[in-house]
Assembly symmetry: C2
Homo-oligomer: 277 residues x 2
């Protein structure tokens, strides 16, 4: 494997895109920076925005087709962004190159979502396509330690949330929980942070506010894939759910559009705090 | 505290009722057995069915009023059934007797949902109202060990679900997870099993089936309150979510309407398995 290019040296980026706002943000940021983009819509998870970019829809398991498309479009790096619902292994129709990798993919399927994504990233790199985390292309920073917005509060709830995420870390589940008044009211798994916060909003409808979103990477997280992030949307959803703040691991969680995120939090009156691991 | 009566010796049961189908099932089962019922609707969480029974709506914190109502109605035992969204301590308007108990309630608020419910049960018992688990009034059995319906399957997914619930046990979170193909896709917290299964149905829409609901009590669970249960509704929701089965701790999880639950599972083609702790 040759040394990995940094984002600035990429000419055309292949975006392996799932659902949510992240893949679109990556595509738009690349366009603004003069980096070419080719969007691979995995199983139709991507919204209409892909029409604004060169794109192709592929079914899960079409490994040979994806590699051929990346080569045809001259992609010199790949990023994996957005949410995917893991299909069942028996439900995937593999093409010939996919079938050749089937024993390896079957093993990866038993290793949790992180293991699967890391293994897929390894395969792309072996085929000559370096995999770069989507945040490298975005206006984004890693969370800072200390109070980013507002005053530190809810220390006990943050500590409880960290303990729970630590306990869950070996199981490759979610990366976020909501804790309010000493009680964990929501644990994120495959549904993602946005869906979890929507549920908290419903659960707490008509009640007083309170509660903190706590988010941090799993131990041993592969930074090429699925690194936890917050952004303006997270802040708005947390405020709508009646939370008083967001606590993230400093250096471990990405803050998308940091200026806008911090302004949103200040306007909504919720704190954003970075804790050291 | 005098010895606790069993369900058959109760003349009038006070039902401290939250949301969901359980409080109504308790009220109807009592009526069928000739046990009087008085429904206390906590904060308006109870549906219209309460009109069929003597009932009163109280706000959280109206401790004196609840005790006076139980006395006025001649209740000789109390059961706590249904879901409540925990209010914030500062959002509760306490009556005089509630205020007298405030330091104790404030401590309970820091001890998790189970701690809170157990402490509330203790207070009722000290005031002379024994607290009996709702299942004592229902046609219900504890889950048996082994295959209750169908053939044991998905052993690895069940084992993973049990490990996750064990890891979460110290934190007083939910009592159920969904695991599919080696990956935990949902963790129950305050939303309850029905909402968790509805989310799994959405997440897996259009995908192949697979996955198991795993449910067990927390370690040290107070059996007077919030003991985990499954019933026909659980079976239907699990089938709708595309799951292949339900695994519960034998002797630890209640099976409501066991005959109907097992028939529903057999018809839906999903297994029900009891594992030993």
């Amino acid at each position: 494997v040759s040394p990995k290019p940094d984002a600035d040296s990429v000419r055309t980026l292949g975006i392996l895109a799932g659902s949510g706002t992240l893949p679109r943000a990556v595509a738009q940021a690349c366009a603004a920076r003069g980096i070419g983009v080719f969007v691979i819509d995995l199983g139709g998870a991507v919204g209409d925005w892909a029409r604004d970019f060169p794109h192709e829809r592929v079914a899960m398991g079409q490994v040979g087709r994806v590699l051929a498309l990346l080569t045809r479009e001259g992609c010199d790096a790949v990023t994996m962004a957005g949410g995917l619902v893991r299909p069942s292994l028996t439900g995937i129709r593999f093409d010939r190159q996919g079938l050749a990798l089937l024993p390896r993919i079957a093993r990866l399927f038993r290793s949790g979502d992180d293991g699967l994504l890391s293994g897929v990233a390894d395969m792309f790199e072996e085929k000559g396509f370096p995999v770069i985390g989507p945040e490298a292309f975005l206006p984004a920073d890693l969370a800072r330690a200390g109070d980013m917005v507002g005053q530190g509060a809810a220390r006990d709830d943050i500590a409880l949330g960290r303990s729970i995420l630590d306990a869950l870390s070996p199981f490759d589940i979610g990366q976020a929980v909501v804790v309010a008044d000493g009680v964990c009211i929501a644990v994120e798994a495959a549904e993602g942070t946005a869906a979890m916060l929507a549920r908290v909003e419903d659960l707490r409808a008509g009640r007083d506010g309170g509660g903190v979103l706590v988010k941090m990477p799993k131990r041993g997280q592969d930074t090429r894939v699925d690194r936890p992030a917050i952004g303006p949307d997270t802040v708005r959803a947390a405020a709508a759910a009646g939370l008083v703040g967001i606590a993230v691991e400093a250096g471990g969680v990405i803050v998308l559009e940091p200026g806008r995120t911090e302004r949103c939090a200040a306007e909504a009156g919720i704190f954003v705090h970075g804790f050291a691991r």
